[in-house]
């Protein structure tokens, strides 16, 4: 177990028979992920890439009691229910890829999961990948990652692929890469993810890929100031040229009510000694300094 995932990760895929679910189940299996079952109500008995499909998580777990994680590809209207179902069945890590889930729904199922001792990554996220044990719960392109000592946490999917690609090209591998997702309220938030990496023996340095909206980066900076994060941190913030009051693609990427602009986040990091890259590829140069 690196952070949240590891060699003992056994995953189920909720919504496995949908287009995205089927496609990415194939990619996850290719990468090496141990997927033990799929779930789609009404499709029990089918198979996807040789993985048995069940009507419910409960049935999947009764045949595969070692399952301990779930990846959710269920459409937005039904995704919250899928999370409750997974948590209720005792799954401890639920990765929600689905976009466009109403924030109120997310707030409720994230709270429920927390109260039940489960972690939600996402929604609207690329997932989590650990190149060492070759576990990928999500939709990132596996070939851009390599094992190594740097933990990456990102609010953006593609930007994290991009930066991992630059890192790998320059010989800097990743312990784990967590895409927390672009929604205003992520299950696992930036600070919680950074704290996990801080406590992870396999992680020597941390890359934070932030963007406009909210104050998650400022809260990480505050935690660093308090000495709660001691490992070297390098950051990148997207959206320096974004105008206020406009949602920039992600539901959470909006400068509103006077908070969330990139300048404030850059300043917060720089004030606590965290170097902030001005382009994605510059992250690697800054990393080479701290490693």
């Amino acid at each position: 177990m690196t952070v949240l995932v590891g060699g003992d990760t056994r995953a189920i895929v909720q919504g496995i028979t949908g287009r995205e679910g089927t496609f990415h189940t194939g990619r996850m299996l290719e990468y090496g992920t141990r997927i033990v079952a799929g779930v789609t109500p009404g499709r029990g008995g089918a198979e996807v890439h040789g993985i048995p499909v069940y009507d419910s998580v409960e049935e999947a777990l009764s045949s595969h009691p070692d399952a301990n994680a779930s990846v959710v590809f269920v459409p937005a209207r039904f995704a919250p229910d899928a999370v409750y179902e997974a948590v209720d069945a005792g799954i401890r890590l639920v990765v929600v890829i689905t976009e466009h889930i109403p924030v109120h729904e997310t707030i409720r199922f994230v709270r429920y999961a927390r109260y039940r001792g489960a972690t939600v990554i996402g929604p609207n996220c690329p997932g989590i990948i650990a190149p060492g044990p070759r576990v990928k719960l999500g939709i990132m392109p596996g070939h851009v990652y390599a094992p190594g000592p740097v933990g990456v946490v990102s609010r953006s999917g593609t930007l994290s692929y991009e930066i991992a690609y630059h890192m790998t090209s320059r010989g800097i591998g990743q312990s784990v890469v967590i895409g927390i997702g672009g929604d205003p309220v992520p299950g696992l938030d930036l600070l919680e993810a950074v704290e996990l990496l801080e406590g992870d023996a396999d992680t020597r340095a941390i890359v934070i890929i932030g963007e406009i909206g909210g104050d998650a980066e400022e809260r990480v900076a505050a935690a660093i100031a308090e000495g709660r994060v001691k490992k070297p941190v390098v950051a990148y913030i997207a959206g320096r040229t974004a105008p206020p009051g406009k949602r920039m693609g992600h539901a959470g990427a909006i400068i509103s009510m006077g908070t969330g602009d990139a300048a404030s986040k850059v300043k917060a990091f720089e004030r606590v000694g965290v170097p902030v890259a001005s382009t994605p590829s510059e992250v690697v140069k800054l990393l080479e300094v701290v490693l």
Partner: protein, 379 residues
């Protein structure tokens, strides 16, 4: 989706929040009749979904029905802060004793609902929070336990009420909370919430922002939004229908990316190399060729855009699909302006092959592509 004041007030009233008497008017005649019906003086308020109407001339007092006619005639069809005024709200003019602030919103940090309350109102909450932070009460509501009586009491006390007026404030808060939940709101705000000279507690202004992802649960609002996208431009609304996120900016380099972060980073890169992005255009995760085709076409047809930079890193998105979308757009529209592409990720070889066949400039690194597009746009 931002609601107009009159929409927000109508929803809040349906949940038991007491309101000033008011009438919506779309013509000066209706405004005059409303003033006559309500009894003068009245307040005429331009219905635009932007803050700061008052200072921009969007809120006017009218002493007589005739004056109401003139004020409304002046406002209707005009603009307030760049937004067209199609309707005005005519409300009874009330004597205000005290202005307060009350809102409910989603708090990212605590992952819960939060009530903000202040005995100071009528100005932005950011301003209150900055200048008199100890006057702002923050009450977090557990999303599973819901709003509890002790929290209501805390807010009422904070605003300085008890007895009958306390019960009125309680009705306002409970109504706002129910509206917040039942309408999947990102924000329900009454600012100012006023204590009137006659003892009534009423919101003078009300704002609601509905979660776009939940609009499907509110067909009436969805319809209203489709008919009138408010502060969203026609271009932005059209883009949304096709399935991508689009925000207009004031530069001349068209930017297309996949994923919000990468698209913003692309804009930032263009800017870093001296260019000015004309837009934010995120084709989203797993976009198919149709979406890319529409996106490229939009920018090809936009006269203000001098050059286009397409920056794709494929995860869900298959880069061959992107290339085919570009191909389709170019086939249809031609190539009136330079296009620079940077393509990485899923099915990269096939994507590159297609674009190479079109003779499009491709780069391995976004920095190089950005430098190049800035140069092309400057020519």
């Amino acid at each position: 989706m931002k609601l107009y004041e009159y929409e927000a007030k109508s929803i809040l009233a349906s949940f038991g929040v007491p309101m000033l008497r008011g009438r919506l008017a779309a013509t000066p005649e209706e405004a005059r009749n409303a003033a006559a019906e309500l009894g003068s003086p009245v307040v005429i308020k331009a219905q635009v979904t932007v803050a700061g109407r008052g200072k921009a001339g969007g809120i006017r007092l009218a002493a007589t029905p005739e004056e109401a006619y003139r004020v409304a005639a002046n406002m209707l069809g005009g603009e307030v802060k760049g937004l067209k005024v199609a309707k005005v709200l005519v409300e009874e003019a009330a004597e205000v004793r005290r202005e307060m602030y009350l809102s409910i919103t989603n708090e990212r940090a605590s992952k819960s609902y939060i009530i903000l309350a202040s005995p100071i109102g009528g100005v932005d909450i950011e301003e209150i929070a900055r200048e008199q932070p100890d006057k702002v009460l923050r009450t977090r509501v557990d999303p599973l336990a819901g709003l509890r009586d002790f929290q209501v009491r805390r807010v009422v006390r904070w605003l300085g009420f008890e007895g009958d007026r306390g019960r009125q404030v309680e009705a306002v808060l409970r109504g706002m909370y129910r509206a917040f939940l039942e309408y999947d709101a990102d924000l329900v705000e009454t600012n100012p919430l006023a204590e009137l000279a006659d003892g009534r507690i009423v919101p003078l202004d009300a704002r609601m922002i509905i979660d776009d992802n939940a609009l499907y649960r509110h067909p009436d609002l969805q319809k209203a939004y489709e008919e009138d996208p408010r502060d969203v431009t026609q271009f932005e609304a059209a883009a949304k229908k096709v399935g991508f996120s689009y925000v207009e900016l004031d530069g001349d380099i068209g930017v297309i990316g996949n994923g919000a972060g990468l698209t913003m980073a692309t804009m930032d890169l263009v800017y870093a190399y001296g260019g000015r992005p004309a837009n934010f255009l995120d084709i989203g995760g797993g976009a198919n060729r149709e979406v890319v085709y529409e996106a490229v076409k939009l920018l090809l047809n936009n006269q203000r855009v001098k050059a286009i930079f397409i920056n794709i890193f494929g995860g869900i998105t298959r880069t061959d699909e992107v290339a085919r979308g570009v191909e389709q757009a170019l086939r249809e529209v031609g190539r009136p302006k330079p296009i620079v592409v940077r393509l990485k990720g899923t099915n990269e070889e096939e994507g590159r092959r297609i674009l190479a066949g079109l003779g499009i400039e491709m780069y391995d690194f976004a920095e190089d592509a950005a430098q190049r597009v800035v140069r092309l746009a400057g020519q």
